[in-house]
């Protein structure tokens, strides 16, 4: 079993906050396929299309038959530890500060031999299951877990360095007015968050989610309006140094594309909230969070954007809204570059139509707030960068990966009509 993580003590005001350090980032281009898989929590290795040999480390030609046709393929993660060590000193600051660090050599049942991180509960020469995770440099690393769940295993210090687990962390939900806010807050608290701040815009306007939010313990409502730079800056001053996980659920949504609307009014509102809102939050909260990514148990760890899956490919019925989310998605990529040096992770949580007023005319399936909250928690616990909630989002992503241009044509059909 793993020693359970204790809630962190109050911060010593005389102690300097540790500067973020990172494990090595440099990787080959071929390797990045593994990082892309880790971003989605998948364990995949290159597999030779000709001789079916799984390859590791990632490479450009098959080590068995010289074929250059290697495909990233989900792979059975079971294996056996052949050798292990505990690294007690390192020339790399990140590991020096976290030593001792357990690593090992695992013979995968599927073939390759893999040097990997080893969870503290793995037995010597024992059977293990590898998981593929992003480390603090944003690159994939493989970690051996005991083949059977052990007690408090998520609290293993090495594993925790690779996840964004909400346990003992403080979260900010930017918009309490959204239908999903109570479910997100509840899920964060159930996952062990010590407090959930919830932003409240336009306190002069009542909203139905306020009452359920107030019923929860460890919730603090704060004035925050993502369309107002001053409001965002002011709240950064208040809680910027205590925000470990930021959940940007602010959303402005109306139906229609450019022609259906005939003006840019709602589109501006969509950009103000969905795009500029994200930018304002990032400019205000980003630096504070980036400075605190090595701040112990409740270090700043993740930035979550809840995005429409139609950020990937436009849904004409919500054409302008989709465009604003495409902008937000693109900005999230820019933020990843901004935050990567500090090891702050940006997780995009993609959803299809959600169960709310604006999607009332849209046929099911629709994503319920509780399902969205589950996906968010799972994504944080697995340290993901990309996660897709619900069947519509998963289906659309699969089509997107298959062929983005074909998907676009599917999405923009006019219908034969009469």
């Amino acid at each position: 079993m793993t020693t359970p993580l204790s809630p962190p003590p109050k911060k010593d005001p005389q102690k300097r906050t540790l500067s973020p350090t990172r494990p090595p980032e440099a990787r080959s281009r071929a390797f990045l396929g593994l990082s892309a898989a880790a971003a989605e929590g998948r364990f995949a290795l290159q597999k030779c299309s000709e001789c079916a040999t799984f390859q590791y480390p990632p490479r450009d030609a098959c080590g068995s038959c010289l074929s250059t046709d290697l495909k990233w393929t989900d792979c059975a993660p079971e294996g056996t530890i052949l050798a292990q060590t505990t690294v007690r000193t390192s020339t790399k600051l990140f590991f020096r500060e976290r030593a001792p660090w357990r690593t090992g050599t695992v013979q995968l049942d599927a073939g390759p031999v893999i040097i990997c991180h080893v969870h503290g509960d793995c037995e010597r020469n024992g059977r293990v299951k590898l998981i593929n995770r992003l480390d603090r440099s944003g690159q994939a690393v493989l970690l051996a877990l005991p083949d059977k769940r052990s007690l408090n295993m998520e609290d293993d210090p090495q594993l925790r360095e690779m996840t964004s687990d909400p346990k003992h962390r403080r979260a900010l939900i930017t918009d309490g007015r959204q239908d999903n806010a109570p479910a997100l807050a509840k899920a964060l608290l159930e996952a062990g968050a010590s407090i959930v701040f919830v932003g409240e815009s336009e306190t002069w306007r009542p909203y139905p989610t306020r009452a359920p939010l107030l019923e929860m313990n460890e919730i603090e409502l704060l004035p925050l309006d993502v369309t107002d730079s001053q409001s965002v800056l002011k709240q950064t001053g208040e809680i910027g140094g205590k925000t470990d996980i930021l959940i940007n659920n602010a959303r402005f949504l109306r139906a229609g594309g450019a022609l259906a609307r005939g003006d840019t009014g709602f589109a501006k509102d969509e950009m103000e909230v969905n795009y500029f809102g994200l930018m304002r939050l990032a400019q205000a909260f980003g630096p504070a969070m980036c400075a605190r990514t090595a701040d112990g148990v409740n270090s700043a760890v993740a930035w979550v954007n809840i995005l429409s899956v139609h950020a990937l490919s436009n849904l004409p019925e919500f054409g302008c809204f989709s465009a604003s989310h495409a902008a937000a998605r693109s900005l999230s990529q820019s933020l990843r570059a901004d935050f990567r040096g500090a090891g702050l992770r940006v997780m995009n949580l993609y959803v299809g139509p959600t169960e709310d007023d604006w999607h009332q005319p849209v046929p099911p399936p629709k994503v319920m707030p509780a399902a969205l909250a589950r996906s968010m928690i799972q994504g944080l616990q697995h340290g993901l960068e990309e996660t897709y909630c619900g069947d519509v989002a998963k289906d659309l992503y699969e089509r997107f990966l298959d062929h983005p241009n074909v998907l676009e044509r599917e999405m923009t059909l006019a219908g034969d009509g009469a």
Binding site: A26, Q84, V87, T105
Partner: protein, 390 residues
């Protein structure tokens, strides 16, 4: 099966070791020039007299052997850059011998050298190999310490070797080093000090690890007739092998490439392990020395520990091993670590080893091992040298 040709007629002359330094403000170019000049001076040659040149170095970037020709004022008709780390000494020798035999060059200088700046070891690790940066350094960044810890862990489990067994190798080498004025380590080492040392990456502790430092090594290869004409004392090359990426199917490295070529080596050298007066293994970690002793035929696989338990590995012992103190006690000067045993063996057979001289040494085995590309050393090499009295 075709047998490879002998190395008859080859003379190895003018061994030179530039005294190592823990840290140096100089560059690899400076260290290489020092060693080259040392060998040339002892042979009474000038840079214009050599027409073959090989270099091994990790810290020469962005230069290679090519840049050094202009930098050092050389005009070779045969040039090689040998990036094989711990295997590069024997490989350089073997290839230079072939160049001389074929007439591609008359006099080849084989040199290795590296500098060691305050942060250069970490910088070198970070760009060592593609597989290492992708798949080994992100895991604790222990560098070779972590890699060899894993190999050592498996070796100990597989063959029942103990830390005491490895300790004896290190302690004997330290005793040898105390007689070598160029050695970086100057203090005696006891077995209990070895066992109680600070752990680095279990089961590797402080004295299992080499001390990275700056230094350089050089020797010259020419035809025996050339050496005789110039009145230069020389040793001969009785046999030499190299092998890369052997046994890829082994899940973890318990043996090296020597196993594939060892019979050929001994046949070619017309000799045998028990005829060796001294053995210079590549010793970045003691487990690798143990593996070489097995794979080169001194004992059966997995029995190095018990074999060595009955042996005295010091200069005056019955199994003189790494007589200069090896990398473990004389220091690891980057790629010069692939030359240190070879240059020392040349001195031994020339009878010019000074304080570390093994009395009456006429035959030596030198082996090299290098380049942990990912999870194992990829390059291996070995050579048998003989004094001309034979």
């Amino acid at each position: 099966m075709r047998r490879r040709a002998s190395y008859d007629g080859i003379a190895i002359v003018a061994p030179h070791s530039t005294p190592y330094q823990r840290y140096s403000i100089e560059t690899a170019h400076w260290w290489i020039a020092k060693a080259l000049r040392g060998s040339l001076n002892s042979a009474g040659l000038t840079p214009r007299d050599i027409d073959g040149f090989t270099v091994s170095s990790f810290t020469l970037f962005p230069d290679t052997a090519v840049g050094l020709t202009q930098h050092l004022g050389l005009c070779p008709s045969w040039l090689d850059h040998i990036p094989m780390g711990g295997a590069s000494g024997v490989v350089a020798l073997r290839r230079a011998a072939r160049a001389v035999q074929a007439g591609d060059a008359n006099i080849v200088a084989c040199v290795a050298g590296d500098t060691n700046h305050i942060d250069s070891f970490r910088m070198m690790l970070s760009s060592f190999s593609r597989f290492a940066s992708d798949a080994s350094y992100p895991y604790g960044y222990g560098g070779p310490n972590a890699n060899f810890a894993l190999l050592t862990d498996r070796y100990m489990q597989e063959y029942g070797a103990t830390r005491e067994d490895f300790g004896r190798i290190c302690v004997a080498q330290r005793e040898n080093a105390l007689k070598n004025p160029r050695a970086v380590m100057k203090k005696p080492l006891s077995l209990s000090q070895y066992l109680e040392a600070r752990p680095i990456a279990d089961p590797i502790a402080l004295f299992d690890c080499v001390m990275p430092c700056a230094g350089s090594e050089c020797f010259l290869v020419m035809h025996q007739e050339e050496a005789e004409r110039r009145g230069l004392p020389f040793v001969t090359l009785a046999g030499a092998i190299e092998r890369h990426n052997a046994h890829p199917q082994d899940p973890i490295q318990l043996r090296g490439g020597w196993t594939m070529d060892i019979d050929e080596l001994w046949n070619m050298a017309k000799s045998s392990p028990d005829a060796m007066d001294l053995v210079q293994t590549y010793d970045d970690y003691p487990v690798i020395s143990a593996m070489q002793i097995e794979d080169l035929g001194f004992c059966a696989k997995g029995e190095a520990a018990s074999f060595l338990r009955d042996k005295d590995m010091t200069i005056t012992g019955d199994f003189p091993h790494n007589t200069s103190g090896g990398q473990l006690s004389a220091g690891q000067a980057g790629a010069a670590g692939g030359f240190i045993g070879l240059v020392e063996a040349i001195r031994q057979l020339l009878g010019s080893a000074g304080g570390t001289q093994v009395k009456g040494a006429t035959q030596a085995l030198v082996s090299g091992f290098g380049m942990i590309n990912y999870d194992r050393g990829v390059c291996s090499s070995a050579a048998v040298l003989k004094a001309i009295t034979i």
